[in-house]
């Protein structure tokens, strides 16, 4: 939990950037706290994926986890696609964005949050590759 707490932190920050910039004209009096809570509900697909992964790793013995880790990595395509759909629907239905703007909002959010998260998580390895 401590290790991966950076995920919701970067998500919160990325949504704050989008809220302050792209979504300023779309707020319609909606409060930031309500908006961020509603938006982060888009993490539900990942929570479902985590519960399924937990159930699998609760029964697979430690020496047999190898193939299951690969399968778990490949299966992340499902929550990735599902959460993208959820976020686009959020921007369209809650913030009344057009279809094109909603997709752009969702992609911009991912560009910010995922870049920050990957840089933080892999920063050490990336730094080594860059000779830093």
């Amino acid at each position: 939990m401590v290790s991966f707490a950076f995920v919701p932190v970067f998500e919160w920050l990325a949504f704050k950037v989008i809220w302050s910039t792209r979504l300023a004209p779309a707020r319609h009096g909606r409060q930031w706290s309500d908006a961020v809570e509603a938006f982060l509900d888009g993490n539900r697909p990942w929570l479902v994926w985590l519960v399924v992964a937990m159930a699998v790793f609760a029964v697979v013995p430690p020496r047999a986890v190898g193939p299951w880790v690969r399968l778990a990595a490949i299966s992340t395509i499902v929550p990735m696609a599902w959460s993208l759909r959820t976020d686009v629907r959020f921007f369209r239905s809650v913030l009344s964005r057009s279809a094109r703007a909603a997709i752009a909002d969702a992609l911009m959010f991912r560009a910010l949050a995922w870049t920050a998260g990957i840089a933080y998580f892999l920063g050490t390895a990336i730094g080594a590759r860059l000779g830093l």
């Binding site: 401590v2 290790s3 309500d34 809570e37 509603a38 509900d41 539900r44 929570l47 479902v48 985590l50 519960v51 937990m54 159930a55 790793f57 609760a58 029964v59 013995p61 430690p62 020496r63 047999a64 986890v65 190898g66 193939p67 880790v69 933080y120 998580f121 920063g123 050490t124 390895a125 730094g127 080594a128 590759r129 000779g131």
Partner: protein, 291 residues
């Protein structure tokens, strides 16, 4: 709170309580063989502070006790902070010996340093990394030296490395990987090392090194590794290491069993796992959808 929420929290509480009850430290009296103290060690673990691990440094110490380990090294990626916190925790509250370590991450290879005090520059060639480690009184171990990492080790490096991982969880993915680790080990005179490289999946001590040391201090453990006094049981239970020590270790069947088998889960263990999963599943299903 809804009925489903109450059930979810109840299931989680049962899972946590059962898991806490069943997770007892495994404490054995010190094992002496051939005049040496046999230390069950895991020299490659990662904690949660920017090393991608699932456990905090103190969590690793507590988990090491539960896995029957006498010593661990905590190896931050390019940092030694976590390890120092873990070592302090173990000294203060009691627990396995914690060696301060680092995983020196470079594009061409990874090297595990154990028994060090400060960070080793990953931009150095491996031979110079080993020199820097030795100047600090530590030992240098080739981490998961599968074939794609071999170009990182030149002749000088092979001379100066103290150990090489010959058992790592990747060997359970196929015989080819075990052969690659064996082929690397044959290129030098290395202490056989078994390590979990634990990040969160799997468990620490799933691969382990039996070190034949004078005592359980960090200096004695490093000295034993540098003297190649280790035994490792790989996939299938194959032994690696000093032949004389392998013969000694064969007289204690529990050593091989602890290194090669997963203890079967008992009923309380299953209760903990099933309750925990059900509790979290219900919590996720019960989350109130904001308007």
């Amino acid at each position: 709170m809804t009925a489903r929420g109450v059930i979810a929290i109840g299931a989680l509480a049962i899972g946590i309580a059962a898991g806490t009850l069943i997770d007892r430290p495994i404490r054995r009296p010190p094992l002496m063989l051939g005049g040496y103290r046999v230390i069950a060690a895991d020299f490659h673990t990662h904690s949660s502070t920017r090393s991608g691990g699932g456990l905090t440094p103190w969590g690793l110490v507590l988990e090491a006790e539960r896995q029957g380990l006498d010593a661990i090294s905590i190896n931050g990626h390019q940092q030694v902070r976590d390890a120092k916190v873990g070592a302090w925790f173990s000294r203060t509250f009691g627990g396995p010996t914690v060696l301060v370590g680092q995983e020196i991450v470079a594009p061409t290879q990874h090297v595990i340093a154990i028994g060090i005090r400060s960070v080793v520059d990953p931009r150095l060639p491996v031979a110079e990394q080993a020199d820097a480690i030795h100047r600090q009184g530590g030992a240098a171990i080739a981490a998961h030296p599968i074939s794609r990492f071999w170009p990182g080790y030149d002749g000088d490096a092979l001379q100066k490395l103290d150990g090489a991982e010959i058992c790592h969880p990747i060997v359970y993915g196929g015989k080819k990987t075990q052969r690659e680790l064996e082929d690397f080990s044959a290129r030098g005179s290395f202490a056989a090392i078994g390590s979990s490289d634990a990040h969160g999946f799997g468990r620490i001590g799933v691969c382990r090194t039996y070190v034949f040391a004078r005592d359980d201090s960090p200096d004695a453990i490093v000295e034993a590794v540098r003297a190649r006094r280790t035994v490792v049981y790989g996939a299938g239970g194959n032994p690696y290491g000093d032949p004389a020590l392998i013969a000694l270790a064969a007289n204690v069947p529990g050593l091989k069993a602890a290194a090669t088998t997963d203890a079967p889960a008992g009923p309380i263990d299953w209760l903990s796992r099933i309750s925990g999963v059900i509790g979290l599943a219900l919590l996720v299903a019960n989350r109130r959808r904001p308007a």
